[in-house]
């Protein structure tokens, strides 16, 4: 049986637009991208509104992280477009994405600088601000918000607990005051008690500070519980898109993971 093209049943652009309330802040159009010579995404479109959260789920190898990497500028984009707030940002470098397009990328696990203190990690987050004073001011802002980090500000990042490390990773990205947060597997490697904490932090950032969140979650259930919108990615294509609630309640979603 040949591998049938996944055009059947896949959501069209109007459906994706509707999910984003008709006014997307971040939009991907028919993105074809990959690493080096490998092509991972075979035409991915995406819409997310300001202040909305979107979770990409799907089996491993589907290209979920590749979508985030592509938005941020880490991949080789063969064709397609990425627009943020109306501006075409497809070819911007990661630095430019952070500094100009106000898109921040939070890496998967273990991306703090372990031998630097919490403070220093935060200052590094402000590297692109151009002056150490501005970076320090921004760091103070963030530390004022997260008391848990402030208490540990002079400790080496390497000795933080899993949950605190993840908080530091997120906070560091907040230094540049981004509008859009790309969160790659927030719950990975975390003990269950910290997972809920992380999602609370993200929820606060979305609901209270109006940040837009695009995340990848291996744990589909957790991701769909959190996010407003869910996209199911299979073999480099979006096969299903609906509200998080809808996908969570739909027993067919699991079968999509297994090629059904």
């Amino acid at each position: 049986m040949a591998a049938a093209p996944l055009g059947d049943g896949a959501p069209g652009l109007p459906a994706l637009d509707a999910l984003a309330g008709g006014a997307p802040l971040l939009a991907l159009d028919d993105l074809v991208a990959g690493y080096g010579r490998m092509q991972i995404l075979h035409g991915v479109s995406l819409r997310v509104a300001a202040g909305q959260s979107l979770c990409l789920i799907g089996p491993n190898g589907a290209g979920k992280s590749t979508v985030l990497h592509s938005i941020y500028g880490f991949t080789r984009i063969t064709s397609g477009r990425i627009t943020a707030d109306g501006a075409d940002v497809t070819r911007l470098s990661p630095n430019e994405k952070l500094a100009r397009a106000r898109i921040a990328y939070i890496l998967q696990d273990n991306s703090v600088f372990p031998d630097m203190t919490v403070e220093e990690n935060l200052w590094m987050g402000g590297f692109l601000l151009g002056s150490a004073r501005k970076a320090r001011e921004a760091a103070e802002r963030v530390l004022a918000k997260y008391d848990r980090l402030a208490r540990r500000r002079r400790q080496r990042a390497g000795v933080l607990s899993g949950g605190e490390r993840r908080l530091l990773e997120i906070s560091r990205a907040l230094i540049m005051d981004p509008r859009i947060l790309l969160v790659d597997e927030p719950s990975i490697g975390l003990e269950p008690r910290y997972i809920d904490q992380v999602f609370e932090i993200l929820s606060d950032l979305q609901k209270r500070e109006g940040k837009t969140i695009v995340m990848v979650e291996q744990n589909a259930r957790k991701g769909l519980q959190f996010a407003d919108v869910g996209y199911v990615l299979v073999a480099g294509r979006v096969v299903r898109a609906a509200s998080g609630r809808e996908l969570l309640d739909d027993p067919e979603v699991g079968r999509l993971f297994l090629g059904g």
Partner: protein, 247 residues
């Protein structure tokens, strides 16, 4: 049908993390067997143990009755167990044909064979296999100049040139355009049906896997979760749960 590959009770830990815990799978001669599992399930570790990248902590891996777990990578390959790479590895600065010629089975190679030339039959066989994967016209091009999809086909042809008894495929359709996937799958099926090559496949593309494999093993959290035909696996609630991330 006899078991070509018997993995029994394999355990492998890295530091404190148990990547494979009491895993047993069986590949019968002539079959196409698939290995699936979400991230962190241990299927890559199992694959690497089989091909000899690292020793195992417990259990056994027998190929045609022979214990593999203490052999090194080249020795295992010479026994007839050939693997392909997910990122596709070919010899970039050599022609496609040269890539094929250097892939002849090394098992029968004595010291003097280092200085041997290439017999007419060898070259013909290489060209026939290049024809089989559709690269006959590109045989004098440098392998590094081929497109990614073409390199994947070349890698497959090279693996077949080595006359494998068991071919281990690490994500054979990863990174290629969907229009090329059918070509790869078709060749794999024909290699199995016409050339009698047994296949053990890791694949993330489930549609491909379900259409290709006759028997599938699903790992999760380092353990064997389920096994069966594609239909059985697709409808197995435990497998679906594992992929959705039930804790």
């Amino acid at each position: 049908m006899s078991a070509l590959l018997e993995v029994s009770g394999v355990r492998k830990a890295f530091g404190g993390v148990v990547a494979n815990d009491d895993v047993s799978i069986e590949v019968t001669a002539g079959a196409i067997v698939g290995l699936i599992g979400p991230n962190g399930s241990g299927k890559t570790t199992l694959f690497n143990s089989i091909v000899g990248y690292h020793p195992i902590d417990a259990g056994s891996i027998r190929f045609e009755g022979r214990e593999l777990s203490r052999l090194r990578v080249p020795e295992i390959a010479r026994l007839g167990l050939v693997r392909t790479f997910q990122q596709t590895r070919v010899y970039g600065e050599m022609s496609a044909l040269s890539n094929m010629l250097i892939s002849i089975p090394a098992a029968r190679a004595g010291f003097a064979s280092m200085f041997a030339g290439f017999a007419r039959e060898t070259v013909e066989r290489a060209e026939a296999l290049l024809e089989f994967v559709g690269l006959a016209e590109k045989r004098h091009l440098l392998a590094g100049d081929l497109s990614f999809g073409q390199q994947k086909l070349l890698e497959l042809a090279m693996a077949l040139m080595a006359e494998p008894r068991l071919l281990l495929l690490d994500e054979p359709t990863a990174g290629i355009n969907p229009t090329l996937i059918n070509g790869v799958i078709e060749r794999l099926r024909r290699a199995n049906a016409e050339m009698g090559v047994t296949l053990l496949v890791i694949e993330h593309n489930m549609r491909v896997m379900m259409g290709l494999a006759q028997r599938i093993y699903c790992l999760a959290h380092g353990q064997l979760l389920a096994q069966g035909t594609p239909a059985e696996i697709m409808n197995d609630a435990r497998v679906i749960d594992a992929y959705l991330g039930a804790h």
